[in-house]
């Protein structure tokens, strides 16, 4: 007999894997890991590409293209995430989890930096 909590959770589980048929447990884990690991791999590659000495040594024009590409890449990631959320929910959850983990690490590291909210430490009052 199903536990009450399982019965309550079932609609949400079905909904999170929105595609037509119910995903198996293994498929959910595979999708989640695909999103989670994929986000790290893709962003690590892009980040290292932008930061690499090779790109930096290729001249201002190439560097500019890379730097202009970052906002476009950022926007593309957000749009992809939103699309995936409605079509492949577990991949989207993996991506969001990867971003959230990164942000948590940032917040913990932020304990050791005097980073206030984009505002100089002292603003002379007028």
């Amino acid at each position: 007999m199903a536990q009450p909590s399982e019965v309550e959770n079932k609609p949400a589980e079905e909904a999170i894997s929105k595609p037509k048929r119910q995903l198996t447990r293994n498929e959910k884990i595979r999708d989640f890991l695909f999103g989670f690991v994929g986000w790290w791999v893709i962003n690590a590659l892009v980040w290292f590409a932008v930061m690499s000495d090779y790109v930096n040594s290729m001249g201002e024009n190439v560097l500019l293209i890379f730097l202009l590409g970052i906002p476009v890449f950022y926007l593309a990631q957000l749009i992809t995430l939103i699309i995936l959320a409605s079509r492949r929910g577990w991949i989207a959850l993996g991506i969001v989890s990867a971003m959230a983990l990164n942000l948590v690490i940032t917040l913990i590291l932020g304990l050791t930096f005097n980073a206030t909210c984009f505002i100089p430490f002292f603003v002379p009052a007028s």
Partner: protein
């Protein structure tokens, strides 16, 4: 009174007050969210994706809003996703964070196919997190605290011969009071299905509009800061929502 940017040391590593209370506030908010979610029997299959999306959306929104509030010269930082994970850069604006969190949570809710909103659990959690986070803003004297004042509770600003409004403490006091009010309202029949969250956001936006008059944020137009414009827009949006959905809300109420 002088600023306390460094709260304590762990070995030789300084722990800064702003970062400490930001993290502490977020953890307290998360803790309260868990309590509320349990109380509302909100399943973890819904809480986890919505909370993660709200967290990420909030952090992105807080950063993006800086572009509007502080000017386009911040674009290289704001539009660079990797700067989002740079601990040397502050998180951004709470108003932008609230909007981003709402959008993130909303998208996640729709993605998991929720027809009714359980997001009211976020309302008191947000107020509590903001109240705690503001302690760090005060201790670090962020934003120069506020505009000059002659009021008895004015705080001396180091390097100046005048007192200033302790604006972060106003924010903290309001959010503590608002947290208590939201707790009192949370079981009211009108405050279900997302209404408590909307009231929570609308109430903070209303307060923030006025407290901005004693803060040092950049004036954009008509003597108003970007934060004031955003707060006014949020407040109006909430009011319009309630007016437009007045009949629908009434019909959704259980028969007495």
């Amino acid at each position: 009174m002088s600023p306390v940017p460094i709260l304590f040391y762990v070995g030789s590593v300084p722990v800064y007050s702003h970062g400490f209370f930001l993290l502490f506030g977020l953890l307290a908010g998360l803790g309260w969210l868990v309590i509320e979610a349990r109380r509302r029997r909100w399943s973890k299959e819904e809480v986890i994706p919505i909370t993660l999306a709200a967290f990420v959306g909030g952090m992105i929104g807080a950063r993006f809003s800086i572009l509007f509030f502080n000017g386009f010269e911040y674009a290289p930082l704001v539009l660079n996703m990797y700067a989002l994970f740079d601990p040397r850069i502050g998180p951004g604006s709470i108003i932008g964070g609230v909007v981003g969190a709402y959008l993130g949570g909303y998208i996640a809710s729709k993605a998991i196919g929720k027809d009714q909103c359980s997001c009211d659990a976020f309302a008191p959690a947000m107020a509590l997190a903001t109240a705690i986070g503001r302690v760090g803003c005060f201790l670090s004297f962020e934003d120069g605290l506020g505009k000059p004042t002659t009021l008895p509770w004015g705080v001396p600003l180091p390097g100046s011969d005048y007192l200033v409004h302790p604006a972060p403490l106003y924010d903290m006091a309001f959010n503590l009071a608002w947290f208590c009010i939201l707790l009192l309202l949370r079981d009211h029949k009108w405050m279900q299905n997302g209404n408590l969250l909307k009231v929570g956001i609308g109430g903070y936006a209303f307060f923030r509009f006025f407290v901005e008059f004693v803060r040092n944020n950049r004036v954009l137009a008509l003597g108003l800061t970007g934060q004031q414009m955003a707060s006014a827009a949020l407040f109006v949006a909430v009011v319009v929502y309630f007016v437009a959905n007045r009949r629908k809300q009434t019909s959704l109420l259980p028969a007495m």
